[in-house]
Symmetry: C2
Subunit: 699 residues, 2 copies
């Protein structure tokens, strides 16, 4: 990666002397950005380009070439890359389009490109990208019109057009960048590699990423986890919704993962996720200019009550508390503020406030230990000298011990003062809620930084052989779907509690079984063809006596036969009726992130209430406990409304075991236990149902 | 109200010759705005102000005075108002502060002000307000520096500072106003009056309101319902959250109602609610410049895939479908778009798109019957002539048959083209999601306009006497809380099903009762002191036999006595055990909106899952059906997962009856039926529990 970002020598293959050609713009940008290394235009059609000697092929260059920027048409790229390999080039930025994004032929070409790079050990950025910038290396190797100015933000983007948007936007709001990377089709270098590099880049203090899809989700997650311990990562993941994802995959050929899984993954990795590009900029401005808050209490200072109300609303929306001031703070405020002022949070310095009043209020609350961040609001009342207040605020740029954001709300009168704030590096927002959101993101990141290191859970001793045997048997019968009994066999092998139960082939044996287990019991139909037994009337709960069992047996079987005449019915299972709080624990494999563990409120209405949460396996105990606490129905588990508390520790164990199982057996494709009955404290947890499918065997 | 908005003659009482005094600014603003009527400065200290003859008192003015603007200090306001009354002034705008907003003394003064106005039949705007503007009457009677330009938007604001913010913001984005009203403390004129007036104002096509609290909630609701059938009402309600509400009430003395109730009220009235001031502007821009969409299908046109993805995400977030194009549309697109373009929605006209390509794509999708609105996106790629595309788009201003919004995303390069769009009246947004949100609001308003007229439900024949008797009895005992039996008596009087049940004073009678009702039964403790029986172990479900009843009786009573040793236990109730889907139906009285009906998923975890919805009584059948459909657990009622459908018509009846009860008996303060068991289709609905409290009797 060093050669990609800080090459001593660069060849531009496909450099052109024709104005407005990409091969000309890129070479010009590298020159204009003040690149200090060796620079070689390569093009057999020219002797000289932009005043530099031009070589027919990269192999003709006399000195070494560390990095190549490739802008030739797609059909020539393979040959050019072969020559780069021969020349000993270490990194290539392939700008050229015409690869995976145009269909199958392009994908084939891209694969060949990858093989050549691999053979020669070359890193590849792209293809189909805008290039990259390292401002501190004075290298703008993009074909964007506007080069970024120097700063501490690194950006990576999966869309070239979004790169251009960001550059143009940034030019307008005085934001500077350390690195700027257009990743294109991500044949080789992707967000995972970039995070690893940028984490250790002292010039970068905040990282922003525009992502449409990730092929190496787990690696991204791992790198993001490490990075967010050190510096903030802000991600905009587009293609969040099914219609958006459709546009994303026709765009760059990336498959967008399920959005809920992305959410879980980003949260787990401490990444701050934004929902649109404006929010991305809002956060970058605050992170790149302000220190992190040490806590979360917010002080609001305003010259207009209405704006204070809006900011307070936004604090509540974002889960930020308004700071309660120390009595000494209120005393100090009282000294210099007029009687009409409100000294409590939000502080209303009143419509005619001057810059001294703002200055006094800000410095006073900054000294209050309960205040972690400050929001300064200003409405263009006729009595205020806006520029003078803006001037006061600029004094807090760069040196403020606590983050401060401003919202000078208005338009015409505000334009010049807002420019002052921008130029000084005070993040200003057109409406109070956007500033509060930026502070909330800083608080969120601060929490992420402080989160405990993942503590790998020591593996539970399990009966692997039993699981292997069951999987083997299911495969031998050409099935992918396990019966309930087989599924429970797997749970048993992992020491997960299941109800006392047995299978009966006829009514007589069902009665014997129920008597030996003890009433009340549950009866369920046994069939390899029925996944959702409840839906076809294949489950009867709470059977209390032989008579009831007899009656229910006949009714149930006739119902099931009516609904699914072709299902093979192999008998009924008789289970001890288990009581407790119903939860769901499940596992699916995501294409991008691997095994995803789901936990939530269980029962047959889980799909409507959707009170569930996800985590990417392997999970540690902290993460599982966080998951359990995060559902809305959590009070159900802690014993609300006069109920006894549930056995949460036992529930946590079960989720950890499923996480381990997902890692132990990649052949398990999907698993769902619904309901899992959480008994009272100390009474354990029982999986009443188990639905397991396995992967198709690889041929 | 005519005299307020279109006075033929205006007196400015407290007019001043000193620059920068409010009394000078207002008079100056009225003159500068080109007011054509008679204008009289009033101030005993001057002979002449700003070139106009000045009178000592309003009673000294020779001709009639229809409207007075009062800017004297609070302590002189009463006298001035008295003189206005004597003069026959019909409407007064009281700018002066120092009333309700400063505490009890101010509130007293405000009350006296109200009495004078009432005595003389004067309308009052304010006190403590910025004034008002009627651009079409050439009257800017505010002390804002920047007068609004003429347009079709009416604004009312409860905060003077927010008024100023809006004016300054609008000056920057080329938005014009018909009326601009600062309502201040709303002693007399409030949002309800304004809606009534603005609804019939031909110069106003869209209304925006900034609200902190409403005293006459039901009147606001009624006027809003009528108004949104004719033109859109966009409301920003600040003080949404408990911390925000605290700031609001210290600000103008308004009590903010519960935010959920506001939400329900605004939805019921067809008001579009926005969450911040930026969204307010976003929506005003679209509503004031574009026609309403005839449907909801969105067509997205972009020169950058990434922006298309973002817009598609936003459509899904806002519940707007992407339009599916007709084959003929795709054919027409294919004719003029390059092969690399994507012809399906979002349409990607590719990075080098020129204005002709945009024009062709927009006109083509506008002709597609499946398209109701259009989003045109542009990234500043190096190959696009941004101004030329902007020029093409301006052609759609004013004449477009379908609404079109644009998002030219960027900063520096975009500034000039965006100015072109603004000037022409094309709503442009800095990020695609904001434009999509504006379209979604238009679709939402369109639906509101088309909603059926409220159909008053014919009153159910009920046994009023029984209810009166129960209430009387409870009052005679000095209680506010009804026993369960009393509560059910009220339900019975309204024909709401309750389980067969009886009260037993001892175990022997409990057994007799259970046998006559038939097992299984439910036993509950009877006590006037226990509201939440479940919480203290005072409910045992599913009792199947005499033996079980005997056992449970002893256990229950000892539990309850242990938890609430002081509760008076008058016996136990024995009920038929009712099965069904558990829902909750309740009623509370909101200070601002009156009786609010709650419906949702029932059971003991209702407070955690919060799957509930609200409506303001009286409700009609459509509204109740909408409420029932709107909860997440609705599929539980329609018969999901193999269950039989529930008796939804009977449930709707019960909710309508509670709505009627709330209107019939204002003395009922609160009512909660949880759970209400919804039986299978045709099997009816049974209220298993009833918790009722009555109002304290007025002394």
């Amino acid at each position: 990666m060093r050669e990609l970002f800080e090459p001593a020598s660069v060849a531009v293959i496909g450099a052109s002397a024709e104005r407005n050609k990409v091969g000309s713009i890129i070479l010009g940008n590298i020159i204009e950005s003040g690149f200090l290394g060796q620079l070689y235009p390569i093009n057999p059609r020219y002797e000289e380009v932009l005043g530099l000697k031009c070589y027919p092929r990269v192999t003709d260059v006399p000195g070494p070439v560390e990095m190549a920027v490739v802008v030739v048409p797609a059909k020539f790229v393979l040959q050019v890359m072969e020559e780069c390999g021969q020349k000993g080039v270490k990194a290539a930025v392939v700008i050229s389009a015409g690869f995976k994004e145009v269909g199958l032929d392009g994908a084939k070409l891209e694969k060949q490109l990858g093989e050549i790079a691999h053979r020669y050990g070359m890193r590849v950025l792209g293809p189909n990208c805008l290039g990259l910038v390292n401002t501190h290396h004075h290298m703008n190797a993009t074909f964007a019109q506007e080069g970024p100015r120097e700063g501490n933000i690194a950006i990576s983007s999966q869309s070239g057009a979004i790169c251009v948007v960001i550059l143009d936007w940034a030019a307008n709001i005085n934001i500077g960048f350390s690195k700027f990377i257009s990743v294109g089709n991500k044949l080789d270098v992707d967000e995972g590699h970039l995070l690893e590099y940028l984490r250790n880049d002292p010039k970068t203090t905040v990282i922003g990423m525009y992502i449409e899809g990730t092929d190496r989700g787990r690696e991204f997650l791992r790198q993001a986890e490490l990075t967010t311990k050190v510096k903030p990562v802000i991600a905009l993941k587009a293609g969040r919704t099914s219609s958006g994802a459709k546009a994303a995959s026709s765009h760059t050929g990336a498959m967008s993962g399920s959005d809920k899984v992305y959410d879980a993954a980003m949260k787990q990795a401490g990444v701050v996720r934004v929902r649109n590009i404006e929010e991305m900029f809002d956060l970058l401005q605050a992170f790149s200019t302000m220190p992190l808050p040490h806590g979360e209490g917010v002080a609001i200072i305003t010259n207009a009550g209405g704006l204070g109300v809006m900011a307070a609303d936004a604090c509540a929306d974002n889960g930020l508390p308004l700071a309660t001031f120390e009595p000494s703070t209120i005393e100090r405020l009282r000294e210099k503020l007029p009687p009409a002022a409100s000294l409590y949070n939000p502080i209303d310095v009143v419509g005619d406030a001057d810059s001294e009043r703002y200055d006094h209020a800000i410095r006073t609350v900054m000294d209050d230990p309960n205040v972690a961040c400050v929001v300064a609001l200003l409405a263009p009342t006729d009595l205020v000298d806006i520029s003078s207040v803006a001037g006061t605020l600029t004094a807090f740029a760069g040196s403020s011990p606590k983050p401060i954001v401003t919202s000078f709300v208005g338009g015409k009168e505000m334009a010049a003062p807002i420019e002052m704030l921008k130029a000084a590096g005070i993040p200003n927002y057109p409406s109070p809620d956007r500033g509060v959101r930026a502070l909330a993101a800083m608080v969120e990141h601060r929490h992420s930084m402080g989160r405990p290191e993942p503590q790998p859970v020591p593996p539970y001793p399990v009966d692997r052989a039993s699981v292997e045997e069951i999987v083997e048997h299911v495969r031998s019968e050409g099935r992918l779907q396990l019966s309930e009994a087989e599924g429970k066999g797997i749970l048993k092998a992992y020491g997960i509690g299941i109800p006392r139960e047995g299978i009966a082939r006829d009514l007589r044996r069902a009665i014997d079984l129920a008597e030996s287990i003890g009433f009340p019991v549950v009866m369920k139909v046994e069939s390899p063809d029925i996944a959702h037994k409840t839906d076809v009337g294949g489950v009867v709960l709470n059977i209390d006596s032989n008579e009831e069992l007899t009656r229910s047996y006949e009714v149930m079987l006739s119902k099931v036969k009516e609904k699914l005449p072709k299902a093979r019915i192999t008998g009924v299972s008789i289970q001890k009726m288990v009581k407790g709080r119903e939860v769901i624990v499940g596992m699916v494999r995501d294409d991008q992130f691997g095994p995803v563990i789901t936990f939530g409120l269980g029962g047959i209405f889980v799909e409507f209430l959707k009170d569930v949460t996800q985590g990417i396996a392997p999970l540690d105990r902290d993460e599982v406990e966080r998951m359990v606490r995060s559902i809305k129905a959590y009070p159900m588990l802690t014993g609300a409304r006069g109920k006894r508390p549930g056995d949460i520790p036992a529930l946590v164990e079960v989720i950890l075991k499923i996480s381990q199982m997902a890692m132990d057996f990649p052949e398990l494709e999907e698993l769902e236990m619904n309901p899992v009955m959480v008994g009272d404290e100390g009474a354990g947890v029982t999986a009443v149902d188990a639905l397991v499918t396995i992967k198709e065997e690889k041929k």
